[in-house]
């Protein structure tokens, strides 16, 4: 028989152990409290930092309103109402932040921002939404992974690179084309427009079923539509010059192409669109993926085709998310700096033509801020512009997050 050893330690030893343990525990408890506080404090710091942006922008813009006598060139009425300046035929908005009489026509900048954003949206919304629909509804899983990753990489490409391409490559191409084909370019434009409409009518009728003008298989019809579009462009180019000769006059003023700048709203808008397509895509795609599969299955079971399901079930269900995507895209387009700085020419003019330049709010801040002494009128005006820009994007972002919230609560987070 082996000798039994006592399992329980002598009392004094146990007490020592317990004491040690409680000391360790209280130290651990102390560290725990400290760590918890630290984490909370850093969260508060982050919140303060974020709040500081808004407060600071408003604080620096406020003197314009509080001391209008000290900033006579930057009062609300001077900024927002047309002013009669020396050497101008009629009251107008002018943005000219240097010189003896500084002129701060803020609506010019807002106009420029909207002009760029509008063209950007026209280009990027259809592209982004359609791509999102394809990737979420039609693409096989492998294609989806590749497409999503690629578009994520596209989103990561710095905007300065896009602006650089616009400035160096695209503006040259546009310029060369305009200089060598002015006639076609300007007159052909409206014919192109008319013929595009005609083509779409034709396309719709071709695909419209029994009343179709074109007989044949669906692939043949798709091909026919493509040919028709191409033909429309070719005809338009020819018609443009013929029409000008027949009328004996130029039609350029109708399209505002009389004035032409190589860095212009169209170019800036196109490149902005390039930059915001990924934003629209990813938000819209997420929204469409959030629609539960049971919706799709129900539609398919009722005899709906795949595209019907996509268009009539998924899109309406994901509608808040799609609005959110568009709004987020708009917010990006409004706030984007480098692309407009490089591609828009930065001319502060009030002109709707896509072939003239503009100056956006962001570009104005980027160009002029470092030249303004602290607390000068220009300094405050630029902060005012910044605050305005912040407000616009803030509202759009808020709306976006509310919409996404609604979508999430509708379908649950997944």
């Amino acid at each position: 028989m082996t000798e039994l050893t006592p399992v329980v330690a002598p009392l004094s030893e146990r007490e020592r152990e317990r004491e040690k343990l409680s000391r360790t525990l209280s130290r651990a408890h102390f560290i725990d409290r400290l760590g918890g506080w630290g984490i909370t404090v850093s969260a508060v710091v982050v919140l303060l930092g974020v709040g500081m942006i808004m407060v600071f922008l408003i604080k620096e813009a406020a003197p314009l309103l509080m001391f209008p006598d000290r900033h006579s060139e930057g009062t609300l009425s001077r900024m927002f109402l047309p002013q009669q300046y020396d050497g101008y035929p009629k009251p107008d908005w002018v943005w000219q932040s240097e010189g003896v009489h500084e002129k701060y026509g803020v609506p010019l900048l807002v106009w420029g921002t909207m002009k760029g954003a509008l063209w950007a949206m026209m280009f990027s919304v259809p592209l982004g939404l359609l791509a999102a629909l394809f990737v979420s509804e039609f693409a096989p899983p492998k294609v989806r992974v590749v497409a999503k990753s690629s578009i994520e990489i596209l989103a990561g490409i710095p905007t300065v690179i896009v602006g650089f391409v616009a400035f160096v490559v695209l503006s040259t191409i546009l310029n060369n084309y305009y200089l060598t084909h002015t006639e076609y370019f300007t007159n052909g434009l409206w014919v192109v427009f008319l013929l595009q409409v005609a083509t779409f009518v034709f396309a719709a009728s071709a695909l419209g079923g029994r009343a179709s003008l074109v007989k044949g298989g669906p692939l043949f019809k798709a091909f026919a539509v493509l040919v028709a579009v191409a033909a429309a462009c070719a005809i338009a180019v020819v018609c443009g010059s013929i029409l000008e000769r027949l009328l004996g006059t130029t039609l350029r003023p109708i399209f505002g192409v009389e004035k032409y700048a190589s860095l212009n709203g169209l170019l800036a808008g196109f490149c902005l669109g390039f930059a915001i397509v990924p934003v629209i895509f990813s938000v819209a795609e997420d929204a469409m993926r959030a629609v539960p599969n049971s919706y799709r299955e129900a539609s398919l079971a009722l005899g709906g085709s795949k595209w019907e399901t996509a268009l009539r079930v998924v899109v309406p269900s994901a509608a808040p998310g799609i609005y959110a995507a568009v709004m987020l895209g708009l917010a990006r387009a409004v706030g984007e700096t480098m692309i407009v700085l490089m591609a828009s020419g930065n001319t502060p003019i009030l002109d709707a033509s896509p072939f003239t330049g503009m100056r956006t709010m962001s570009a104005a801040i980027a160009i002029e801020m470092t030249e303004k002494p602290q607390y000068s009128t220009g300094y405050h005006v630029l902060f005012f512009v910044g605050a305005l820009l912040f407000m616009i994007t803030f509202v759009l972002n808020l709306a976006t997050s509310q919409l996404m919230q609604r979508l999430k609560s509708k379908y649950g987070a997944n």
């Binding site: 651990a28 408890h29 560290i31 725990d32 760590g35 918890g36 984490i39 850093s42 969260a43 982050v46 930092g49 974020v50 500081m52 942006i53 600071f56 620096e60 592209l127 982004g128 359609l130 791509a131 394809f134 509804e137 039609f138 990753s149 578009i151 596209l154 990561g156 490409i157 710095p158 905007t159 300065v160 690179i161 896009v162 650089f164 391409v165 160096v168 396309a203 079923g209 669906p218 692939l219 539509v225 397509v277 085709s305 795949k306 996509a310 409004v334 706030g335 700096t337 700085l341 490089m342 962001s362 801040i365 980027a366 801020m369 470092t370 602290q374 912040f390 994007t393 808020l398 997050s401």
Partner: protein, 538 residues
């Protein structure tokens, strides 16, 4: 008489096909955009990095002169044989015509002073004040030993169009003339390699018709056009060489001083040597208002700024995410933090710049200056410190969102297990939760760095500079810094009109480097995340 089911089915199929091809087309366009922008960067960017041409010359006295580049491949110019059969004069004039055609559009008329413009490391051009518009003179550098100095301290050189003589104005006001048989050599301060001398020729287009005719003839003969940006050479008998030094007067205006003159044998033929230039590109400092040399300070500045930014953003981002995920109760405070983080992500980058400039630089920096430095501008100027802080604020949402996502993937069993073993909440977080979520947090850091490296707008206001000779090594980060992304902007938009070509080729290379780094980082983040979700699914 209604449509049959079959009819409806067919119509639907047709509509479906149309619709799907539309959606597919949109996706394809987006992907093509990505590929084309990357392709453009690679094609145009690698040209300067890897394939900058170097020239080698055979002179009439039998000596060969090349720019001193090793590891090179020689490519014979197709015309070399013919060059030797004709007289040197005619042969060289062909190339000169070619050159003029190339330069016509890219060069704005310069001021009244004769000015030397560095074209590539080896080739220079000079605008002749007497030439008609569109005419340019060209010069080329090569390794020729300069032996007999005879003119020093010359102030300017001009060309008399009628007599085709060079008028060299000395500093004491005297003028010396050189006949059309002279060749002028220029070298500028920025063009260092000491053993490189320069020699110039110029050509006057007296007969435009003749010139136009020849241009075509030459263009059809020479593949060279596409390979080289500039070539040569005056003809004639033996010429003289005048060496120029770039100097600045008290107003900072650059002028060129003639140093010495030497008789040169005419050039018989030349060869293009391709060289690898990438090492210089990465390690050299920029020269001649950024259009020459490398981008080392830009890379250094970008790395420094993003490093500082990461040091600031990572702890705050992680702590906030931990708070939101592990500590926060569902109350107004938490909702406020979430809301502000979500909105922070949508604030335009220029507004961050505006805030950084107004708050960090002017208010905080200016405040420190007023308190400790008697209002001297020590911290109150745009610098790397404030730029990093601004960028940290900008990348904060990226960091927080990614970290939260990572924390979400940590299974609750792990937390519960740690708790059950007696760990406190904080030690559970530091020893179990964060290490488990580390790959996801790393993804967040990578994304934040990628964002920070490519963003320019806030830097415009908070501390970037176009060119700087020293690295920003100040320990408090009180210096301005160069930045790769800003470098691309600066080169393409702000370079002088007569240097656009050089600037753009350099800008493409910088853009290539930037895009590659950022794409790689984003790709790494994507792969890391895919890996994570695989692990989670398993």
């Amino acid at each position: 008489m209604g449509a049959t089911v079959e009819d409806i089915r067919q119509r639907k199929a047709r509509q479906g096909l149309f619709f799907m091809s539309l959606a597919l087309g949109a996706t394809a366009i987006v992907l093509i955009m990505l590929v084309s922008i990357l392709g453009l960067m690679v094609v145009r960017g690698s040209k300067r990095l890897f394939f900058s041409p170097v020239y080698s010359f055979v002179l009439a006295d039998g000596t060969t002169a090349t720019t001193a580049i090793e590891e090179s491949v020689e490519i014979d110019v197709p015309e070399a044989g013919r060059l030797e059969t004709t007289s040197p004069l005619q042969a060289h004039k062909r190339y000169l015509n070619l050159q003029i055609q190339l330069l016509k559009y890219s060069y704005a008329p310069l001021g009244p002073d004769v000015r030397v413009d560095v074209f590539k490391d080896e080739i220079r051009k000079i605008k002749d004040p007497f030439a008609n518009e569109g005419e340019e003179a060209v010069m080329i550098t090569q390794t020729v030993q300069v032996k007999q100095p005879s003119i020093q301290n010359a102030k300017a050189v001009r060309l008399d169009a009628a007599s085709r003589t060079w008028l060299v104005q000395l500093e004491d006001g005297k003028e010396t003339t050189f006949g059309p048989e002279y060749q002028l050599i220029f070298s500028t301060k920025g063009s260092d390699p000491v053993n490189l001398t320069t020699f110039v020729t110029r050509y006057l287009q007296n007969n435009p018709e003749e010139a136009a005719r020849r241009e075509k003839e030459i263009a059809s003969n020479l593949e060279l056009l596409s390979k080289s940006d500039a070539l040569v050479i005056e003809a004639g008998a033996t010429g003289y060489v005048i060496r120029y030094v770039e100097k600045k007067d008290e107003k900072g205006v650059i002028y060129h001083q003639i140093e010495r003159v030497r008789k040169l044998p005419p050039i018989l033929s030349f060869t293009i040597i391709e060289k690898w230039n990438w090492f210089q590109f990465f390690w050299a400092f920029p020269r001649s208002s950024n259009t020459e040399g490398g981008v080392f300070p830009c890379i250094f500045g970008t790395v420094l700024m993003t490093l500082l930014m990461t040091v600031i953003v990572a702890p705050f981002g992680i702590a906030t995410a931990v708070y939101l995920r592990e500590y926060a109760k569902d109350n107004w405070f938490t909702r406020l933090i979430r809301l502000s983080v979500a909105n922070l992500a949508g604030v335009p980058s220029i507004v961050f710049g505006l805030f950084g400039f107004g708050f960090f630089v002017l208010t905080v920096g200016g405040g420190i200056d007023n308190m400790f430095f008697d209002g001297d501008k020590v911290f109150g100027t745009p610098c790397v410190l404030w730029a990093s802080l601004t960028m940290a604020l900008l990348t904060l949402p990226v960091m927080i969102v990614a970290t939260e996502e990572a924390l979400r993937t940590v299974p609750p069993e792990l937390r519960e297990g740690a708790m059950a073993l007696g760990a406190t909440k904080f030690s559970t977080i530091t020893t179990v939760v964060i290490p488990t979520a580390m790959p996801g947090i790393l993804t967040g850091i990578i994304l934040a760095v990628a964002r920070g490296a490519g963003e320019v707008a806030p830097l415009l206001l908070t501390g970037v500079i176009a060119q700087k000779d020293q690295l920003p090594l100040d320990i408090f980060g009180r210096e301005k810094f160069m930045n790769l992304a800003y470098h691309v902007y600066d080169l393409s938009v702000k370079s002088p009109p007569n240097k656009i070509e050089e600037a753009q080729s350099l800008a493409f290379s910088s853009a290539l480097v930037l895009v590659m780094v950022i794409v790689t980082m984003n790709l790494a983040a994507i792969l890391l995340r895919a890996r994570l979700s695989q692990i989670r699914a398993a």
